[in-house]
């Protein structure tokens, strides 16, 4: 194997064979080493949140990765390949330009399936909403679908004041017996206030940036209406196929308290579907 091993000869066969072998070993070793090195590096820099989201996004079912422009009626079929980061999506930029020039009109779909959508809020795909306050902060709350699912505020673990939060990284944890998940933060920022019982929002954030890019990935109310209906149907499909048999909808309005309609053993799945945790 090596020149100093007894019986080794510098024959052509040996050189070719061992040359290929050592190349393979070195490539395997280097690739493995590189991924260890990269993961160590990303562990030190604050990329964990970013990578965790990328990885989770990758594992989401295609139905959960539908492009926002379907809800606005801009396109018929499209699955997001940009981790819901519309700022990096060329198709999104293109459609927005068309819209600005008036060639595409953003029309609000017929109904929102009975979910309320507020015109002064922006919506994150992880079912939180965000409202920009005059003082430069934003408040973040659960949207209508999420708040019908999570009715008990005491099950929510809110972050402490001054905590840094990152877009698409866990903001709030939900703990229910035998099921838990996290709710994703809509934008980067720092917690400045935590909402109390009865408050319409959960936390108040000071955004890291107030530029349009920081909010480009959030759904506008007109998109959110169709999206919420889509999400509700998706949740229903998922629950129905598991033999759970939630008998809501069929064109009717969703139950006031969705929470009580979801059986205990389907909670985990329901939370995962809604809050985008694969």
């Amino acid at each position: 194997m090596f020149p100093w091993v007894y019986g080794f000869t510098w024959s052509t066969g040996n050189l070719i064979f061992l040359g290929i072998f050592f190349t393979v070993v070195i490539v395997i070793g280097l690739t493995l080493g590189l991924s260890v090195l990269r993961s160590l590096r990303s562990a030190q820099s604050n990329e964990i949140a970013h990578i965790r989201w990328k990885s989770e996004f990758h594992d989401l079912p295609a139905a959960a990765r539908t492009c926002r422009h379907i809800f606005a009626g801009d396109t018929r079929e499209r699955t997001c390949a940009h981790d819901f980061d519309c700022g990096t999506c060329t198709a999104h930029r293109h459609i927005e330009e068309l819209r600005r020039s008036g060639r595409i009109v953003l029309h609000r779909p017929a109904g929102s399936g009975g979910f309320s959508v507020s015109s002064e809020r922006l919506y994150h795909r992880g079912h939180t909403w965000l409202r920009r306050e005059p003082d430069g902060t934003v408040v973040v709350g659960l949207d209508d679908l999420a708040s019908r699912l999570v009715t008990d505020r005491s099950t929510l673990g809110l972050p402490p004041v001054h905590a840094a939060v990152f877009r698409n990284a866990p903001l709030v944890t939900i703990r229910r017996a035998s099921a838990g998940t996290r709710i994703l933060a809509p934008i980067d920022g720092e917690i400045v206030e935590v909402g109390g019982e009865g408050c319409e929002w959960l936390v108040r954030l000071r955004p890291r940036s107030l530029g349009t890019d920081a909010f480009a990935h959030l759904l506008r109310p007109a998109e959110a209406a169709g999206w919420l209906q889509y999400e509700f149907e998706r949740l229903q499909r998922s629950l129905a196929s598991g033999g759970v048999g939630v008998t809501m909808a069929d064109g009717g309005l969703p139950m006031q308290e969705l929470a009580s309609a979801v059986p205990v053993d389907a909670w985990d799945r329901a939370l995962g579907e809604v809050f985008l945790e694969p």
Partner: protein, 410 residues
């Protein structure tokens, strides 16, 4: 505890039922491990192999499972290098099957050799002219690659991914997967071929010997093709089988069709080349060594029907079936064709390993028979039990079929 390890959104049977499924296989594995102990402690006299039948059931098993495990490299090659995205639906399962096949084969090889502790000699004092050296080097490297490809699947387990370092490593490893897919393909080409070359170079065995192209006998190339054909068919077959056992759809029907088409086209090429190879062998190679090819088929049950079964019945027929769009419409027929294709390859490996050794060479030799001892059979079955166990646990706790969730809610 158990349910928190099962991927979210997937339905798995209750833990007691899972245990009931697993336990018989554990028992089988236990018996096999006892047989392995006997072989290691008392020597290979525990087997029914002998000086004349020096390779037996175990070598046959190795050649077969490695051919069937070729789906891992070939799917990886098609997905990561040729960018056939639709195969992402089966790549995880293919990697697990490949890992099972190769690790099982290596484990059996370790029992099969007389001095397992000297296994490193092959690396230290390699004879690069031996096909077995090529096989040993390639299989060791490729098993490492398969283990590396298996790791991200494990790290994606629901519990493990909560750990940030596991998640990061998985993420970075997955980004470089194309390198491993490339190396896996390269290594697989060589060792699948060398397994064919193993017998093709045996000038002392006119039944197996084939003329060489460059340094490799024709069986080298035939084995690569047949493994590449059998791999996708075996994945089709296993995916279907698992979906029947689990009683839920795991991959979309068009994935079955894609696998069938890929397997069918390669099988067709293989069968044609195999036919040419056989004709050359009958008319030139065997007579050149002083043997009439027909003489090989005069013993016992090993008549020329084997040749017919291998090339036409389990070769050409399934190849045409897999390529037929009418067959592709019915998963049942598609699975039948895939099973036939796999059986053809399994039969080919049997002919290569067992029939080659059974046939006499010296004028005063007799046709030999060999029946494996219970220790050999138990070890053989233990590999199957090991495979079922690894696969069962992987299927329960890892997300082997990315489409499963969507198909369920479709």
């Amino acid at each position: 505890m158990d349910s928190s390890l099962i991927p979210r959104g997937l339905q798995r049977t209750s833990f007691p039922r899972f245990l009931a499924w697993v336990l018989p296989w554990v028992a089988l594995l236990g018996v096999g491990l006892f047989a392995v102990y006997l072989c290691l402690a008392y020597g290979l006299n525990q087997t029914n192999m002998d000086n004349r039948f020096a390779f037996g059931a175990w070598i046959y098993l190795d050649l077969t499972v490695i051919a069937l495990g070729a789906g891992a490299f070939f799917t990886g090659f098609l997905l990561y290098i040729l960018r056939r995205k639709e195969l992402a639906a089966v790549i995880n399962s293919a990697v697990v099957i490949g890992f099972i096949c190769y690790s099982g084969a290596v484990a059996v090889l370790m029992v099969d050799v007389g001095q397992p502790l000297r296994a490193w000699f092959t690396f230290w004092h390699p004879n690069v002219h031996s096909m077995l050296t090529e096989v040993t080097f390639c299989i060791t490297c490729y098993l490492t690659v398969l283990a590396i490809e298996y790791v991200p699947l494990i790290l994606k387990n629901r519990k493990l991914r909560k750990n940030a370092s596991m998640l990061l490593f998985e993420f970075q490893l997955h980004k470089l997967m194309v390198v491993f897919a490339g190396i896996g393909t390269f290594l697989s080409f060589f060792h699948q071929g060398s397994l064919g070359g193993l017998y093709g170079v045996l000038v002392g065995r006119p039944f197996a010997f084939r003329p060489a192209f460059g340094i490799w006998p024709s069986t080298f190339f035939l084995f690569i093709l047949s493994a590449a054909a059998a791999g996708p068919s075996f994945i089709l077959l296993t995916s279907w089988l698992v979906s029947k056992i689990a009683r839920k759809p795991l991959v979309a029907p068009d994935v079955y069709r894609t696998l069938g088409r890929i397997s069918g086209s390669i099988l067709l090429v293989y069968v044609l080349l195999k036919a040419v190879d056989t004709l050359v062998w009958i008319n030139r190679t065997a007579p050149g060594l002083g043997f009439q090819a027909s003489s090989f088929y005069r013993y016992g049950d090993f008549g020329s029907w084997i040749l017919f079964a291998e090339i036409v019945l389990l070769g050409l027929l399934p190849a045409l079936m897999l390529l037929s769009s009418r067959v592709a419409q019915h998963t049942g027929w598609l699975v039948t064709a895939a099973a036939m294709a796999c059986s053809g390859i399994v039969l080919n490996r049997f002919v290569m390993t067992i029939q080659t050794l059974a046939l006499p060479t010296l004028p005063f030799d007799a046709f030999l028979s060999y029946v494996p001892s219970w220790q050999e059979v138990a070890t053989f079955l233990a590999v199957i039990a090991y495979g079922v166990l690894v696969y069962s646990f992987s299927f329960r706790y890892l997300n082997l079929f990315p489409q499963e969730r969507e198909l369920r809610s479709a």
